[in-house]
Symmetry: C2
Subunit: 329 residues, 2 copies
Amino acid sequence: MQRRVTIEDIAREAGVSRQTVTRAMNGMPRISEATRDRILEISERLGYRPSRFASNLARTSKTKTIAFVVDSFRNPYYSELAADLLDAASARGWQMTIVSREDEPELQLLSRLANQVDAVVGYLGETDEKALATAARGAPLVLLGRTATTDGLHSVDFDFGPAFANLVDELRKRGSKRFGLLESQPLGAVYEPSTRRIAYEAAVDPVSAAAVVVCEAPPQSVDAGELGFDELMDRFPETDTVIAFSDLMAMGALRAAHRRGVDVPGQVRLVGVDGLSLGAVTSPALTSLAILGTGFAEQIADVIEQALDGGDGAERRRASLPILWRESA
Amino acid sequence: MQRRVTIEDIAREAGVSRQTVTRAMNGMPRISEATRDRILEISERLGYRPSRFASNLARTSKTKTIAFVVDSFRNPYYSELAADLLDAASARGWQMTIVSREDEPELQLLSRLANQVDAVVGYLGETDEKALATAARGAPLVLLGRTATTDGLHSVDFDFGPAFANLVDELRKRGSKRFGLLESQPLGAVYEPSTRRIAYEAAVDPVSAAAVVVCEAPPQSVDAGELGFDELMDRFPETDTVIAFSDLMAMGALRAAHRRGVDVPGQVRLVGVDGLSLGAVTSPALTSLAILGTGFAEQIADVIEQALDGGDGAERRRASLPILWRESA
DNA sequence: GTGAAAGCGCTAACAG
DNA sequence: CTGTTAGCGCTTTCAC
């Protein structure tokens, strides 16, 4: 590992000042074509590579980088959201680095990131907001899927209440009478009803409200949905409409339905949550309360943008979830 | 946008030197608890956030960032590979930024990236290697899915020849006689046989070699696979084994098979390429020539690592593709 | 068109 | 335990 080739080396070799080299490298004006070409040739010959740290330090407009943190990019919900968010980030000239919180204590990861990016956004598990704020060390932090209450923490949450009310309403119009919910069990934590479950229970009749199956680990998996569907139909055979915590779980339910010879949507209507594009390729294609493809990512980017501009008050939004009608309901 | 709070401000406020502040901020030794706490408190009060550019510039060990470039992270193959690569990158202490080449001319994108990351890896479309090398401006570049021939360009390609030979062999053992291939049409380019097609044709008998359907746009989509399967079965009704360019296309083929009442794998065996984990949730689950989950990402990371260490000779590898037996074949 | 000087904000190495 | 002295490599004035 020898000394790095710097702008100084090029300047010396070319017999010009460092400033001239900078002008040549960055395609700036006020330099003759001849010297530019000569410098470019020399820098190539010497294998010169500008230091992004030095250039960003000196430059007035620095490149922004945001970190997107999720459980795992193997979950299509997160990867599709990453794709959406990436578009929004690129449009704003930001770089986006993806970070999975699988192998490192969350707070530690957060404070590491705080020194390496301009803002952090994602699904964080830690419930102690003070701890989160401290770990972020002043880096703008945007919490997803929950509502922040601590000063300085931003968030974009979901408005499940109206969404479920509307969904149940529409389903009733199509003939649904008895609903059932496939709820997800957070990994290794004490079970606590999800905001989806709460919204569900508020939206349906008392009998349906009782028809809830908390699917076993692994959470958020197709398998969990498959097992859950079996249990739900066994325990509540009159169910004619199943709402799943997520599209992935709905896909599992669909599999179970096929296996049991239950026609979807003929005998049982099935609805997921997320709006995965993947839901379009199952047969029947999955109806879903859509998060993806609804401007959710744009909304997140807006919040980040404000946070980056040092907006003082914390920005808190709640996204609405339109129904994405496909075939399964 | 007021002046940024710097280490200098903290030092002045605390009545210590900048160096002491550095020590406090980075949890370095040789500082008393008392002063550390005082400095931390002050820095929080003043809203101090270290500049990652300054710190990386001054530091001896700088944080590495690699860029992973693909068409679109909406394609599950790319997002699953991104997840694998991210694991490999994190394990090495690198950050990984994802970049989609959807909206920007590739060479331009590349030279922009060259100034912002330490290495670029991905599926690049540009065939002119000189142009790629120039645009990369000396940043290590690792080409995926093709073999580089230009000096300084690294690559990790696939060894389709043996893979297809082995696959066909194994399928024959299970009773396959007449094969068919669902080939993908590159977008908007003049059609040229893919390396997969070439390997396929070399592996099968002459009659099967002729049973190739080049699926219409959109390439690499479930829909393309669905249409392609129809055409293949219409034109070559004796086909008993279908190999698809990718798992996504195989999923489309599966859909068409369901629709046509063709039993898979009873009447027709179906094999994809990629090894998507998603292939496990279709019914029947998809058999595939696996790229994912085979150490491919690790291999890529190794190549990057060597390139980063300034290994002179360009590193070129070819990954092998084991068969991932599931239900569809 | 080109160069000199003055930083950008931080850390390494050493001295005290 | 703390401070001083030098940079890290580049860009930004502002002269010439």
